[in-house]
Subunit: 366 residues, 2 copies
């Protein structure tokens, strides 16, 4: 990720060699601020309160959360308790459980005195692996971008994306944004329609922020606008991320993704979902089994922004006393997905498609 011209990741070990630094994403785009995590409680809070968000980054943070827990107490009991605590923070993204299982697997057969070092090593690997997966998603996605680029001649390829499946949602590169960044670097003209993504505005606040820092042309739109733009031929393809992909290719992603997939389908606009292997839940043969998080009403009825003097304030925007509902994800059925872009290549959104790329998983699926 490029910020103010410098390359950085979203999570790293601090100069003290053990605390974990993150960007507090609840403060973006108004204030850029990093904050240290020094305990498993800090890590759990960072995930639950969405200082970090995005399935891959949630996984990376949970991995380091285990490291922080084991520093205090490397016992089996504490490993289990920390894993349980972190796993309970958010229900939908499967990378969380995946990373916790990986961490447990990496340390449980080691003597206690070796566990902390092994945990930090495995957490670093998980993060490096995610960054590399996201880079490869971009390498494969670039081919799609080039195809569209050829058809558009010198016109920019118009990509619509929903929420932030960008560098900020991962360790680096992003999932949905990686093909965009690769295209931009390869000289394929690209323009991104950024869905605002209510209620937390991850599009307007985070995706627009990182695209701006990378110099990628983009336009923020209300979540309501994408269908209209597709009807008018102003979207060449959609690329989104996913918080959990079932073995049949159904994808849970930020609430509203399903609506965009319907519009893409209705207008023959290709609809791609970009994901690393860690987002696939091989135990689910149907996306409608994925638990959908219900979040607080205040995310809908309030909004945080900058006053003209730069002060950041939260305001009530809805009719006083009106209740609000806030489901955070929806499930897009595989039939609406043109393809899955993974670190191993692009496949159809189906059990067969996924098993062609991950043949070692044959038999794992439900």
């Amino acid at each position: 990720m490029k910020l103010d011209g410098k390359h950085m990741r979203t999570i790293w070990v601090g100069e003290d060699g053990w605390s974990v630094e993150i960007i507090d994403q609840t403060k973006l785009p108004h204030v850029f601020e990093t904050t240290p995590l020094r305990s498993v409680d800090d890590a759990a809070r960072a995930i639950r309160d969405m200082l970090v968000r995005g399935a891959p980054l949630i996984g990376g943070t949970a991995a380091y959360g285990i490291c922080l827990a084991l520093r205090g107490d490397p016992s089996d009991e504490n490993l289990e308790a920390a894993s349980r605590q972190l796993n309970a923070t958010r229900p939908t993204a499967v990378n969380l459980k995946w990373a916790l299982d990986e961490m447990t697997h990496a340390v449980r057969n080691l003597p206690r005195e070796d566990r902390v070092a092994a945990a930090y090593a495995r957490a670093a690997e998980i993060c490096d692996d995610d960054a590399e997966c996201c880079r490869m998603i971009g390498v494969h996605g670039l081919e799609i971008m080039k195809e569209h680029g050829k058809r558009k001649m010198d016109e920019p390829v118009n990509v619509l994306t929903h929420c932030n499946a960008g560098s900020l949602a991962t360790i680096d590169w992003g999932t949905a944004t990686s093909p965009v960044y690769h295209a931009h670097e390869a000289g394929v003209p690209v323009h991104v329609w950024v869905d605002e993504t209510r209620p937390r505005n991850q599009g307007a606040a985070l995706t627009a922020y990182e695209l701006g820092h990378h110099g990628v042309p983009h336009t923020i739109i209300a979540d309501n606008a994408g269908g209209h733009l597709m009807q008018r031929g102003q979207v060449d393809l959609c690329i989104v991320g996913t918080d959990r992909t079932a073995a049949n290719g159904d994808v849970a992603n930020k609430i509203g993704t399903y609506l965009k997939a319907l519009a893409a389908h209705d207008n023959d606009v290709p609809f791609y979902v970009a994901l690393p292997h860690s987002t696939i839940d091989w135990s689910l043969d149907d996306g409608f089994e994925i638990p959908i998080e219900e979040r607080g009403a205040e995310e809908v009825t309030q909004m945080t922004g900058r006053l003209a003097d730069g002060a950041v304030v939260t305001v009530d925007i809805a009719a006083p006393g009106s209740p609000a509902g806030n489901p955070a994800f929806d499930v897009t059925p595989a039939r609406l997905v043109s393809g899955l872009i993974t670190e191993r290549g692009i496949c159809r959104a189906s059990a067969e498609g996924l098993l062609e790329l991950y043949p070692e998983r044959a038999g794992d699926e439900a």
Copy 2:
């Protein structure tokens, strides 16, 4: 419309007998404030800056705008100039042109000295007619609500609506809300999912406000959430309004309506559009010919709300420097519409359906 237990309309002639009073809807739901219109410029500004909005209320305000213009100068030239000025305020709602044509027709053959009185009389008729049309939309729509009510036993009928097609968008009753109010009064349990309706939040700000004052149970949701709720069987039917309906049954309505119609279609949820005759543009045989207003980027990048101390402020919510696009309407093709609820009854969304209700229009359509 009931506000604080009192019945009121959205537009009326002031106590002086000539100025026109409106509710400044840009201040809702934070502050309830009426404001007088004393000139055609005031009326044009009220429409353009959306102190009044909603196709029928725009029509009523334009009618009174002609009255105010003629008070100063009842000449043909001024009648034409005022009509042109008002017609240029907003491009999508056809009620604007319809009302202006009605007003011109009402006064142009009269001597100048009789024009002002005739204009006020016709404007009052236009408003009374709209209120009666909206009441009848509710009478017909109530039958649909009762049918769903029977199936739901004692459970509330869950209606999803988008934007504000309520009393505040009309003279009284609303279009989409009229069946809801009639059901509520008839003792049919009803609950409304209120789409927030970004970027101007007419759902969270206006629909929730008026449903609350009427005591109708409702829940505000992000525009992204409706598809998910339909997938989970939590929506029994959708009812929305329209700013212009083509002769083939295609409907232009607030941006995002098309996405909800797609989701309703995908989940076998009935999708109704409620409208008075004045919203039908018989000259257009295809909704995609309807001009779509592009509004300012600041509606997307800024938000107005209440601080804890009650002060109303506007904040920047998006990444600094990021551009935004703001198409204000989209077109829902007739194939996605289950039926049109009009003052004359309910018909299929098709040329044939509309002509069954409006046989006198045979030959008028394009």
